[in-house]
Amino acid sequence: MDNPALAPERQLDTTTVDEAIGYLRSEHADAVSLDDRDGYQGIIIGSGRLLEVARVIRDDLGFDYLSSATAVDYLGAGDHLEMVYHAYRTSGGGALVFKAQTDREKAEIPSLVSVWRGADFQEREAWDLMGIKFPGHHNLQRILMWEGFQGHPLRKDWREAYYEEEQKPFDSRWPGGHVHRAEEKNIFGKNVSYPPDIDLGRLMDTSESAVYQSLGLGVDVERIMDKDGFETNELVVNMGPHHPSTHGVFRMVLTVDGETVTSLEPVMGYLHRNHEKIGERNTYLHNIPFTDRLDYISSMGNNHGYVLAVEQLMSLGRKYNPPTYRSEALRVMMVELSRIVNHLWAIGFWLNDIGAFFTPVLYFVQERERILDFFEAVAGSRMMCNYMRFGGLFGDLPARIKSVSNLTNDRVRDYNTIQFLTEMINERIPRTIDDLERLLTQNEILIERSVGVGVLSRDDAINYSAAGPLLRGSGVAYDIRRAEPYSIYPELDFDIAVEEEGDMYARYRVRVAEMRESVRILKQILPRLEATAGESIWADGKPGAYAPRVPHGEAYGRVENGKGELGYYVVSAGGWGGSSNPWRYHVRAPSFINLTPMGIMSRGHKVADIVGILGSIDIVLGETDR
């Protein structure tokens, strides 16, 4: 692998993305063509020369950060599969979108893992769900589905077990909606088909041996002589899927030499529900509450990323009103509050993982509860907020956070919303962060436990597409709110939290600093809310339609969520197939991609540290497995 650190010296003078595309088209005219489909952007690279051009993109043009790599099935619209890559510069700016196309029957696209290691899991996902083979990939196995699963579920001609119709709304619901349970009509088993050459009596699970093989464990286990001449073997330890430290059903297969980890392979997919296939069946509006269920700690941020992507698409059409200023201010406020919630949660459970058992986390949860109370009063739900809409919001702030007694033993609360918010932002949250720092930042045990553990170097962090506090803890000042600003962030005054060391402690410090920056942002939002009081949250004064027409095109909406870069790649078929349902809906999940460097971060540490390293990455399995 080339050393990406050398890249800047060779960089050409192509500051904008358009200039970069111009350079590629002039220098590699035979391989590169402009993607001139209606509403599409970027370039299409002939897959034969993809690897070569990708190196140019990284080294010569300086797009060192591969944010997203995903596949789209254009069945019925060219009948090809397409890999879509979004590469960015860590110095900021827009995306260089490049694509490679391949035949549906014999789908092969060269692997880019040798250029960006961050493509590793994403290519495995594309193989798993879309069936594209990546020659050159070191470990091309299914990642979300199990080995032995037949078919590739994101292909347009694949149908799920409880298949009813291609797209919602289903015709059976109205006007003749005689209710039935899906499992009664389609009991489990009817949809299972076996390939003809399989002998059910001799059915064997091959997935385990495949996992162990990827760790380099063949039949002959390597023999190690320790310093006293004892013959020792490497031991394989399975942590999870039911392990309290993994924050869900997540499994790590480690090989240990004594107590030192020599290699680690994350195994996931236990919570996989093919969110993206559901998303393609759904209408655009239907998807918003589904995004809540990805990273369920910060559902406001999930909503935001998705509505930004769809709003990008809608803005291509004629009938689109961007959200009002008040809407944007409310969105930013909600997202920043979720960021605080997310970081309190992340730090709390990371501390749990490394031994500060439950005292700190309960202190933080008290404040989180109050923020969730606020979400509940405004959006209607504590965690599954479903608050944002295309071009607006579900509703403005209520005048009072007020409850009405309904059930027996109900106790009533009644606060003025703005006063509640002001006291939270000016007093309680800063006080909690102060408490947190006093409790732990200088704690000697914590420092000894976390400094120098789980180090991710700056170059690796970029190359492995790490995002969020994981990236910024490694000294890369990359925050999408600054690198490619959205909403009203350009006018807000805040700093990017960065730490140089790249270890667990650095990530903890980044999270604490980010919470302080969030409070700073919230303090600037409050006067903006007062100034816009009475303004509608909808540009034309009335709520958006329930079935918005989304024009043909593609969009990649990304936000800086608590866990890192959350991106939504949405393709609208517009003219050629139902325009109120997305043709492709992909989630670039930070919890998923941040696990790519887990292996290199863990090498050489003790088993007990693995728990802490995983906690310091901060994953949520709802988002990892989708």
Binding site: K168, R173, W174, G177, Q366, L407, L439, E444, I445, Y546
Partner: protein, 280 residues
């Protein structure tokens, strides 16, 4: 010096320990007693003590916007003309916006003419599938479906209890006004009447017809107590809500059959076109 960080942190836990008793000292043994109204303080922003709620001896009353499983609004039993009638017109928008598609509606038909009537014959919600997103209530053009506040729905058998039919779903309008007075008031402002949209339209038409012969009577009608409460709240904020006079014996669906038939024909055409498009 090694250990100062530790000691500082331990001082903080000590502070938290002491603060957790502040409320107990202030309220004595009456802290969790019904008559001691310290709940808002205990849960609020000024408290320093513990915020624990002793469920189920005490429950947090949920805010108005809270959403948990939809219900259908029917007119109160004491409504002069439409007692027990559905607000739902079975237009099907809730079934269309439902993300997990948990709403099933059988549109009503007039037994004599066979034409659809704006009233659901059957209405089912599978609450196992419902994801409590609130879209049905948000996009219902008739304010006929609302999200409930009763979150205690545990049952012993999901196969028999978790599909709510129309009978189980129906709750009186006064219930909605009691659990969400502010929102009911806002909806009234948007509709322009406390009555159902169609009933109000019918009433206006009836009033216009009677105006030709005689001056209309003053709008006087016994309102439900909750409605009065909401209305008094409304008048407190400087606005008055005049309930629309209800028309005698008016059934909204007997009006303008030709127009309705025309709409139905057009809708069927649209649907056929859509199906053809999808097939091609």
């Amino acid at each position: 010096m090694y250990g100062t960080g530790l000691a500082k942190g331990l001082m903080l836990t000590l502070r938290h320990f002491v603060e957790s008793y502040v409320d107990d000292i202030r309220y004595g043994f009456r802290k969790y007693h019904h008559s001691t109204d310290n709940f808002g303080i205990r849960q609020g922003t000024q408290t320093k003590g513990v915020i624990t709620v002793q469920y189920p001896d005490e429950k947090v009353a949920v805010p108005e916007r809270f959403r948990f499983v939809p219900f259908l609004i029917v007119e109160d039993e004491d409504h002069p003309t439409r007692a027990g009638k559905d607000w739902c017109t079975s237009c099907g928008i809730c079934a269309k916006v439902c993300p997990p598609q948990c709403i099933w509606i059988v549109r009503g038909n007039d037994p004599n003419t066979g034409r659809p009537v704006p009233e659901p014959e059957a209405f089912f919600i599978d609450i196992d599938i419902c994801m409590n997103c609130g879209y049905c209530a948000e996009y219902c053009p008739f304010d006929a479906i609302k999200m409930d506040h009763d979150y205690e729905l545990a049952s012993y058998d999901r196969t028999t209890h978790h599909i709510h039919d129309k009978e189980r779903l129906s709750k009186p309008n006064s219930y909605w006004r009691s659990i969400a007075p502010t929102r009911a008031y806002e909806e009234m402002l948007a509709r322009g009447t406390w009555e159902h949209k169609d009933a109000a339209k019918e009433a206006r038409r009836g009033a216009a017809a009677s105006r030709a012969s005689a001056p209309p009577p003053a709008a006087e009608r016994p309102a439900a107590p909750q409605a009065q409460a909401a209305a008094s709240e409304a008048s407190a904020s400087g606005e008055t809500a005049a309930p629309a006079p209800a028309a005698e014996g008016a059934t909204p669906w007997t009006e303008d059959e030709a127009k309705r038939e025309e709409r139905r024909r057009k809708a069927l055409e649209r649907k056929a076109r859509r199906a053809a498009k999808r097939g091609s």
